[in-house]
Symmetry: C2
Subunit: 212 residues, 2 copies
């Protein structure tokens, strides 16, 4: 199942930092998978280093030495999520791409496992500055990945030239996360459609156009 | 200083539940003020029942018996915030009222004390269902308080008849909370202006109009 990030698949670690497929990478993969399992099951407040080590089959000493604390685990999971960011849609129209983006975010947040993981990492970021920076990095990567859909839409004349793509994409995601994390209201396909439609309408009125 | 809620002022407790100004109300006020102080200072993950009791000058037994746990304290603080919801603006135009709403939300979230409190209660809601319900109740109260500005705007012809006021108000707040809590990006007056402008433009295009 496609998600905002390929969290559940095994991937080689960051190129350049460790030998792909090497022991260090395998340990990191096992520990981050166990961290994600724990966050999905019980949230950030219950994240326990010893349990993560045991469930990853990795020695406690290694986990404490490399990640230091539960927030260290969450921050590294977020860096891993950013590295594995999926490519953006290219449906042929900006309206189609924004609808695809809103649908993907909605599907991710309403997925029982991934919704719990996102709620946990956002809560962790509220408690710790390193997690907040890693969360910011994750969304920066996602927004950059999708920015070209707005450039293509502007080139096709679907939004005014000079439309700030990142700002338009923020406007698509914001109402979905607002219901999911802030007002704690139900979230569904109609909300995704409305979010994409509202962002596109505002862009059409030049609200996201930057002076150049 | 005006805030989204009169958190820092002493208020009589909920009418009907306890005698206003009575001992029960005074204990609740002292405990909720101490809870807010603790959340502002160190966040939800560091909230400690014994410290709250000591700083409120209330016996530990009372605090444990009435609130049970840190999440019980946060949930009751949120109910108190909802009860003390401030009236909406009435500037004479919908654009002015939405700008005032966006400015108020931005001012609250960027206030060092209140921003920390909001981040803490949202994180608490991510960890606990009772807090999530109380958070939902707080925003429901805020949105209801502001909905009449959209009804007045529709009556003046500033947005299409049948515009869903709550949905329009969600659209104003969402981008501000998204930067503050999700992407962890800076938030300022330009973001407030853009949020109000984007929501109004989308409303003008009929995005928030409900079929009747």
């Amino acid at each position: 199942m496609e998600q905002e990030t390929r969290l559940t698949e095994s991937q080689p670690a960051v190129p350049g930092t460790v030998r792909p497929g090497g022991r260090t990478a395998k340990v990191r993969r096992a520990v981050l998978d166990a961290t994600e399992d724990a966050l999905a099951a019980a949230g950030f407040h219950a994240l326990n280093m010893d349990h993560v080590a045991a469930s990853a089959g990795v020695g406690k000493t290694t986990v404490y030495r490399r990640w230091g604390s539960p927030v260290g685990l969450v921050a590294d999971l977020l860096r891993d999520m950013a590295e594995q960011s999926l490519p953006a849609s290219d449906t042929g129209s900006l309206a189609g791409d924004l609808r695809a983006n809103a649908a993907l975010v909605t599907k991710t947040l309403t997925d029982p496992r991934m919704g719990a993981v996102f709620r946990a990492v956002i809560a962790a970021a509220a408690c710790d500055e390193e997690c907040a920076e890693a969360l910011n990095g994750f969304y920066r990567a996602r927004l950059q990945e999708w920015a070209p859909v707005v450039e293509r839409g502007a080139a096709r004349g679907e939004v005014p030239a000079g439309t700030d793509g990142i700002e338009l994409l923020r406007a698509v995601s914001a109402p979905l996360y607002y219901r999911f994390m802030i007002t704690r209201e139900p979230l569904g396909p109609a909300d995704a459609e409305r979010a994409a439609g509202a962002a596109l309408a505002a862009a059409g009125e030049g609200v996201f156009t930057t002076p150049d």
